[in-house]
Amino acid sequence: MSEFPFVKVQKEDFDLTTEINALRKGHKDIGAVVSFVGTVRDINEGDDISVLKLEHYPGMTEKALETIRLQAHERWSLQSSMIIHRIGEMMPCDQIVLVAVSSRHREAAFEAAHFIMDYLKTNAPFWKKETFPNGETRWVDARISDKEAEARWHQPLNKEKPA
């Protein structure tokens, strides 16, 4: 498993089946695989989007993603996990990000994948720039709801489930 790339930042698109097979490879004790795929929406804040450009901070990005991934492994009993984040130009419906987690039982995989996404949104140095049909551009604003989503994981461990 040492050669398995847990974190990838790449221009290329990814294939879900291929990536999940790689995530599962060598682990027979997996009962649950949860994956999250983030995709480019055709409308944001009410405006049509033609192109979404992803900028990142090389070096810090990989470090931040790996730190988040390891935090998830400390917090839950996981078999394996991976994060792929694309950079460069994307179109509506394109895949942007994949977070996938495997574990023995489903609870840990659901929680950990959600946790990784919430932390990625607020801690990994990526920036989105939208291009509208008329050619104008806009940097996407950080959302307060993302900060709040992350903050909810700060509370002490308990067994409550969101409703």
Partner: protein, 83 residues
């Protein structure tokens, strides 16, 4: 020397992505920011008086009080919006 990086709209507003500063004059990130702010209103608004300013030193999250040493890489950027 200190390596200074600018990302996203900071890079665009300030017109550069990277520069090098002598390290001797700057004990903390705050000292760097104060010096940059003297370049003009654009710089002051973008960096010194911007509550949205995010800072990293050597790829770790930092703040104005973070101490610097020669060879450090300091990055300035807005709140992240990936995912």
């Amino acid at each position: 020397m200190l390596e200074i990086l600018y990302f996203a709209n900071f890079r665009e507003v300030l017109g550069q992505s990277q520069e090098t500063l002598p390290s001797d004059n700057f004990k903390t990130v705050g000292c760097v920011l104060n010096a940059l702010a003297e370049r003009g209103e654009q710089w002051k608004m973008a960096l010194a008086e911007n509550n949205n300013l995010q800072i990293a030193v050597n790829h770790d999250v930092a703040d104005r009080a973070t101490a610097l040493k020669a060879g450090d890489e300091i990055a300035f950027f807005p709140p992240v919006t990936g995912g």
